[in-house]
Symmetry: C2
Subunit: 578 residues, 2 copies
């Protein structure tokens, strides 16, 4: 391909909301353009990368025995009502009313649709297992789309759904998918770690996320320095030590203090000169019609999944201000457990251990000091639980080693769904004895766009992107340093045609531009192999070959250049396990 015949609008200016490298570089390299919040056009260069990543995912899925199909984007909302996901997705699901007034959803995932198809056509254990997948645009009305293509409202997803007669069969396919994911990410040049994860609105009994570690990731990965334990922050457990609360009778005096306008832990802590770990944070949640209160230490973050589990409900969401005011009789920021008539109050273990605490007084502009849990508010023993995120200093739940924390981008997620969907929808099979059972399911997602962003985050420098060759928009870029020098231009053309004929993805920068411009753009768009052809080299009968991720160039005799580059491209692919 000739540069002048492609459409590669590189730019210097990027919008101010672009702060992470992948976002900035994809815009600068002319790969994406934002059309609306969380909706990006993939320009030709970007789309080539997306298609390459898609092809790798497809090849590995096919190799793992999964079968591709394609479901509609538009799904009648009733499908989600059967499984309760209409409500579970809430505002995250785009809803649309058609001209006849029928409510439709833009599919966020397709568990309901695929389960219905399988229910309609599979009824015997002989037809199982089955692993069906699609690669398709998904829609989620994210509250805060951000970070370029990392969190968007429209994205390309590979979603697979497997159906089984037994947990053993599910485990087998789960492991196959796990291995396929490792292959895909390796081929895409992405170092991934897999961690235990929460299932969220998808549901199910167990799940793992595939994470690319990078400081700009939205997710937190917790791992043990001593053993193989790793989980995301929502899921991570810790070793919980025995807690013996202080002498309840002989504690400090409970007093009300005036804290005008102090609504945050930081404000109150500074104002009253108390450490955050002495404070009791009181958070009000709803679960459907129910109000649930969680107490954690001021220096800790509450973990909603753990809270929901401890409260025995499926999900919780932060209560609105009205609910909080009604419950506490005070403005938001002054809630506390003392004399609070909450339906359900879950107390974090570390709160239980506080001997002299500070918390809101349920009275606007007032806090309480000298608070003793169990003395000043009732603590129900079976409502004391681990409901906070793990934190620096916590111990591994498996081996008591120290837990470490890293940021990461989630690129894949696999779930053991169990029978949640098959039971709701009636996907049953008959076993060899003629008895009916609900099918056991798994599901397996990959965000294809995120592969691109993650690949850039872990492979770039100050000059631009450094693509792994497997997903590079072109494998080789040829830079003739003078468009007017016939010998230079002629050799560049000849080498381009030779490589293209040999199946190499090659871009010839045939622009009538200064060498500096060509070098800069080549570095920015990140083509792995750069071939420079200039009059000086030609005088010595050589061209210069340089890898994007190496500093040193190599002079290669003109008559060996084609063969040398083809071998180099092959080697680079092999390094990625291709």
């Amino acid at each position: 391909m000739r540069y002048t015949q492609m459409f590669i609008p590189t730019v210097r200016e990027v919008p101010s909301d672009a702060v992470i490298a992948s976002h900035i570089l994809m815009i600068r390299a002319g790969m994406i353009r934002q059309l609306a919040a969380g909706a990006y056009t993939y320009l030709p260069l970007g789309y080539r990368v997306l298609q390459k990543a898609e092809r790798i995912v497809r090849e590995e899925m096919n190799a793992a025995g999964a079968i591709e199909l394609h479901m509609p984007v538009v799904i009648p909302i009733e499908a989600f009502r059967k499984t309760g996901r209409d409500e579970a997705y809430g505002e995250l699901m785009f809803r649309i009313k058609d001209r006849n007034g029928t409510m439709l959803a833009l599919g966020p995932t397709h568990e309901e649709v695929i389960t219905q198809i399988v229910a309609d056509h599979v009824n015997s254990y002989r037809q199982l297992p089955l692993n069906l997948y699609q690669i398709q645009t998904k829609f989620r009305d994210e509250e805060r789309p951000k970070s370029g293509v990392l969190r968007t409202r429209e994205f390309l997803m590979k979603d697979a759904y497997s159906f089984h007669t037994s947990l053993e069969s599910l485990e087998e396919t789960y492991q196959k998918m796990y291995a396929a994911y490792e292959n895909m990410f390796k081929r895409c040049g992405l170092p991934v770690v897999s961690v235990e994860a929460e299932s969220g609105p998808i549901g199910g009994s167990a799940s793992h996320e595939f994470m690319v570690l990078t400081d700009v990731g939205e997710d937190s990965v917790v791992s043990c320095g001593s053993c193989s334990y790793a989980a995301n922050i929502e899921r991570a457990a810790r070793k919980v030590s025995e807690v013996s609360p202080g002498d309840k009778a002989d504690g400090p005096e409970l007093r009300e203090v005036h804290t005008p306008g102090m609504t945050t832990i930081a404000q109150v802590s500074e104002f009253l000169k108390v450490r955050p770990d002495q404070m009791i944070k009181t958070l009000v949640y709803r679960s459907g019609e129910h109000v649930i209160v969680g107490l954690v230490r001021g220096d800790h973050d509450i973990n909603e999944s753990k809270l929901a589990r401890a409260a025995g409900v499926e999900t919780v969401e932060l209560a609105d201000e009205g609910t909080i005011r009604k419950l506490t009789g005070a403005e938001v920021g002054f809630a506390g457990p003392v004399k609070l008539s909450a339906e359900k109050m879950i107390v974090d273990i570390d709160v239980w251990a506080i001997a002299d605490g500070v918390t809101g007084a349920n009275k606007t502009d007032y806090h309480l000091v000298g608070v003793v849990p169990g003395r000043d508010f009732a603590v129900d023993a079976d409502r004391v639980a681990d409901i906070r995120n793990v934190a620096q200093g916590d111990q591994c739940p498996k081996c008591s080693g120290e837990l470490a924390f890293e940021r990461a981008i989630e690129v894949g997620h696999v779930f053991k769904l169990g029978t949640k969907y098959s039971t709701a929808i009636g996907a049953e099979f008959t076993d060899a004895e003629g008895k009916s059972h609900s099918m056991i399911m798994g599901c397996y997602g990959i965000g294809i766009n995120r592969i691109l962003a993650a690949a850039i985050e872990v492979n770039h420098d100050e000059s631009g992107i450094i693509w792994p060759i497997s997903i590079a928009p072109y494998e080789v870029i040829i830079l003739p340093l003078s468009a007017k020098d016939e010998q230079v231009a002629g050799l560049a053309e000849k080498l381009h045609d030779e490589l293209e004929a040999a199946g190499v993805d090659v871009l010839l920068d045939d622009r009538d531009a200064r060498p500096g411009v060509k070098f800069k753009d080549a570095d920015l768009i990140g083509i792995p192999v750069r071939v420079t052809i200039g009059p000086k080299g030609l005088a010595n009968n050589v061209v210069e070959v340089k890898l994007r991720n190496e500093a040193e160039a190599k002079n290669v005799p003109v008559d060996q250049a084609g063969q040398y580059i083809r071998q180099l491209v092959e080697d680079l692919h092999r390094q990625l396990g291709e």
Copy 2:
């Protein structure tokens, strides 16, 4: 691929709304399933066909120098307001409100988005021409989705947009696209004719549709038996003869007659014993706030494009009942031109020639007989025009030959857009003299799903589909007649592996099923080459090779089978120009 590892749910029963062959056969062959009105899941077999058609389209677009990119499905509604298409599309465009209350459209096409991108990044004549395309799911809220995948609310479309500095450059790309389309359709085994067409809500100065002739098509193609003239029914013109209206003074007597409940041409014609060609059909339209009345002969169909052109407006749509009642003072079915105070009344030339007509009396349950145009209602000379569809017996506008009529499926549509979008959006280029001009545009669409339906309509028999090899889900199907005969099963496996290794798409029917079941399914799903392996043939050291579209089978020695089949597959591709 082994049949038992694919998911091919063939069925006998089809829903009663499936009446055309492609719809019935795609369901029976386990290729599609309806999820909602106009939204289909492509099951694995169907998706393979769709992907093959998509690949052919992509290859030909790339070969023609078009560059692929990918725009979002979700488009802010403002983009369409700039060009007036928000209104032009009307209810056909799906609209969605996001969580922040922003109105978004699900893209029916992407002229506005691509034009903005080009406006942002192209400003010199040196950067043009440019032809950008995408293959993407489009959405239209069709009033009556029908005919399986032929008219759906969600479909896969290839849409290309070209940008030029001159009409000559547009013409060049238009011809390139035209040629690319001919290649694509030939490769897909589709005999197409191209016809002049109306541009509809896309707009522009000229357009052509690519049509596959078949009785079940929704479109009508008009062509001349003597010259190359061909157009769709909306566009088709005719040779209009000079009309001399009868003597206005000496005509019949105008009388009112009672026609209780007679609202259709057929009813009135029978009741009053007059021929439909004596009747004046009075149709009421709206164009924005304006009311436009069109008069055509009772045996003719009004042509809305011609009516709009004659009335000097962009589009017209049939008025609602309220408007008609208000205008005529009567129930719908009794409108007529006599004493009608219409804002604009366009009279078809053939109505002008009526000497003794019948029409509605603008009074419920009454008609007028003895109507003479020009005497009983004013006919403005510059409001007499050709506003009807051409009909049997009309003459070619080019050569006066007789026009013929055929039904067809539209599979592609190319448009010369001119500057409609570039002017509205501000896509300008500077010429060599430094002067600014609006870019001249073309656009080029293909409905990929329709390729499948059209291919089936022209290639099937009572047993099932007969796929052209280029888009067949598999090129070869191997039927071992006995799964238990080790020699048969072993050879089938060996041949399967050999062909698969050679890059042939081969399906091995390894089901433990009766030969009759296997033969039936192979015919139904329409694999072009069938290889039957049975104990009897093996005794003679032969396998049977049969083409789906031929009656005779051929015995091929076992040791030559692989080579023979590979050659056959190659030959079949070559016949399609591949």
